[in-house]
Symmetry: C2
Subunit: 405 residues, 2 copies
């Protein structure tokens, strides 16, 4: 890392303000844990984040944020003003989880471990933003930059980053944010500097259907779909920039003795590099067209041909933040200085949107340890020492970036 970043982080960590802030994180650790539990138990599937958003706003109200509000998309935003004329930087955590309404979200606490769906991804981070605010307030920290704190909607699959799209492309802070940190999941050792782009499709193959015996010889949408999946499976993609595809979920048909009227598959296409993703998408759509044409040529269309309904269900832009960016240097240095072994990765997070717009953006972890994200047995260990050390590393990054005055 650059000596510039190292000296900035050293300066922050040596300051009385930072020590007071970390002492506050330590003193208030159990309050942070209670916030995690409270927020985890408020369900927040993508598109149904409103109750949790309201709860987070109420918790944030004690911290004197300016313009604390819920925007038109559902994000909670609140500004911690700088001393004047500074840039606007943004730190965010996402409100939504992958768990549908009705999932049992009761947190089970065993020693220092909390078990509940969504507890680590990304509810802990929502509580960590509040802990940082309290720590900064307790240490009377003032910054050069204005810091926008955001609890955002729509990070998980179907949300398709709608919260970030609104923040960066439509809302009142559009075109004003100069650097972005999303705090997502406990893991401190992976810093995402690459945003994997994805295109998602549900392709429904439709045909006339008919009796499996009596109407044999008619086109069968299952054959068109299988041919498309088979052709996709033969596509060669580069390992760098990493580019991938999957046929993930499928369904359709009515009974064993019927040629189906309709079958569908969900496809996931991804790449670190926008041009590779576009190439893959073009090839994929061409495959669908060829497979349908082949089935309509091989079997009879006398009762009607195979047609498709191609529904784009996700479109996350790819992007990169160059490792030479100050934001990346500061995060890497701060995290290493707190005893972790950071490395860079590409992933698909809220940071994809600013990255795709050329705004320096990274994902960092919220601290603690956890596992089984996206499963019902998700867990989070809040043992104080590593939990606070992780929070301190993130706070040092934020303070160095914002500039303590």
């Amino acid at each position: 890392m650059t000596s510039h970043a190292e000296s900035m982080i050293r300066e922050v960590m040596a300051s009385e303000a930072y020590r007071t802030a970390v002492a506050t994180l330590t003193a208030e650790h159990e309050r942070t844990v209670q916030n995690i539990i409270t927020l985890t138990q408020i369900e927040a599937p993508s598109f149904q984040e409103a109750t949790r958003a309201k709860a987070w706003r109420e918790m944030a109200e004690a911290h004197g944020l300016k313009d604390l509000q819920i925007d038109a998309e559902g994000n909670v935003t609140g500004l911690r003003p700088g001393v004047g004329n500074g840039p606007l930087i943004c730190v965010a955590a996402h409100l939504d989880t992958v768990f549908p309404a009705g999932t049992d979200l009761t947190v089970r606490r065993e020693g220092t471990k909390l078990y509940a769906p969504g507890v680590g991804d990304d509810t802990r981070s929502l509580a960590v933003l509040l802990a940082w605010l309290r720590a900064m307030d307790a240490a009377n920290i003032q910054t050069r930059a204005n810091i926008l704190f955001v609890a955002d909607v729509g990070e998980e699959g179907p949300g398709d980053l709608r919260g970030m799209r609104y923040l960066f492309q439509k809302g009142p802070y559009k075109d004003r944010i100069s650097a972005f940190i999303t705090v997502d999941s406990p893991d401190m050792e992976h810093i995402a500097t690459g945003g994997v782009g994805s295109k998602r499709y549900r392709v429904t193959f439709e045909g006339p259907g008919g009796h499996s015996y009596g109407a044999f010889g008619l086109v069968n949408p299952m054959f068109a779909m299988a041919d498309a999946i088979t052709r996709l499976g033969a596509v060669k993609v580069p390992t760098s920039p990493k580019t991938t595809y999957s046929a993930s979920v499928t369904g359709g048909g009515t009974s064993i003795n019927s040629i189906p009227n309709s079958v569908w598959t969900d496809f996931d296409l991804r790449s670190e590099e926008p041009s590779e993703l576009d190439r893959l998408e073009t090839g994929f759509l061409d495959i669908i067209a060829r497979s349908v044409a082949a089935e309509n040529a091989i079997r009879s269309t006398r009762n009607g041909p195979i047609t498709t309904n191609i529904q784009k269900t996700g479109d996350r832009p790819a992007g990169q933040t160059d490792p030479s960016q100050e934001l990346v240097q500061l995060a890497h240095t701060a995290i290493a200085a707190h005893g972790f072994q950071p490395r860079f990765e590409s992933s698909s997070t809220d940071a994809n949107i600013p990255m795709s717009l050329g705004i320096p953006a990274i994902k960092i972890g919220s601290g603690g340890t956890g596992g089984r994200a996206h499963s019902l047995d998700e867990w989070l260990d809040v043992a104080p020492e590593p939990s606070i050390r992780g929070m301190a590393a993130g706070l040092a990054t934020l303070l160095a970036l914002a500039g303590v005055v």
Copy 2:
């Protein structure tokens, strides 16, 4: 048709007994319609026929059948004894429908049309057997043959002909029935003399699963399954004996961003000719094995290979009743003599089991007109004239076969 069959049918139709019987069918037509409505509204999915079986037995009790009982498989059987030393012939209709428990079976009557799931397939036939019994009783008809009346279970898909398997291969009438007629659905113009054999499979393809991006390169059961379906779609089958296949219903996978752990498809293989069906089945199972091996060769098995769970869900034997058989000749002649244009077909019905055992067997219609079988908007027209004419044709067949004394 042979002059022998023609003279037998002519003799039956000219008899006072037959005229009295048809007059009874006519006089009691509304009662038959009421029986159709009552039975239709008792749900009877395959494997859950007991309530309807009990209701049919109670209706049959008035008709002095001997040994009226529900056998160990759930079939209702009752004997109308002949005059002594005659053969045993059997006439049957099936109790079960394709509609799951909880389906709204309320019959909507509009003019002469009845709308309800299962009304024509095969509930009307259950009422027609009762109408024949009443007509024979009213005309004091005695026969040389003993006639076994059967309301049987398990004709539809998943039932896999379990009622007939028990009757012909295990129950008290095993090895005693010399001719078999199943009355199935309204259509009078198709006489089934061929029993299409079928083999049905649910094939589940399983693998290690994983993240669609992070674990890209691992084997994906969707690719193995698609390859198998594609290979099946390229199989050439003869048009005579008619041989068919279908990939009919599919499902599996958990989320758009996961390589699935498990996906499945239901396959239907059929042929008029047992050796062709065996050939198709062998080829199909070979395809499954090749597709799995190909996927395990193309992609990484480091977290585990693709495996399959191959479940045989149906196995209906093929069979034929030679058109020269007296049973076929009598049915064709009687149906033609009642103003219909009969032709022979192959289909998959209760008659498959006796056909496969070399016992002369056919499927005939129950009369009236109907449509949309196996759909929620199934309908049956009970306009008296064609309805009674159809019943009379079937009864003439039965009386000629049984021999009126």
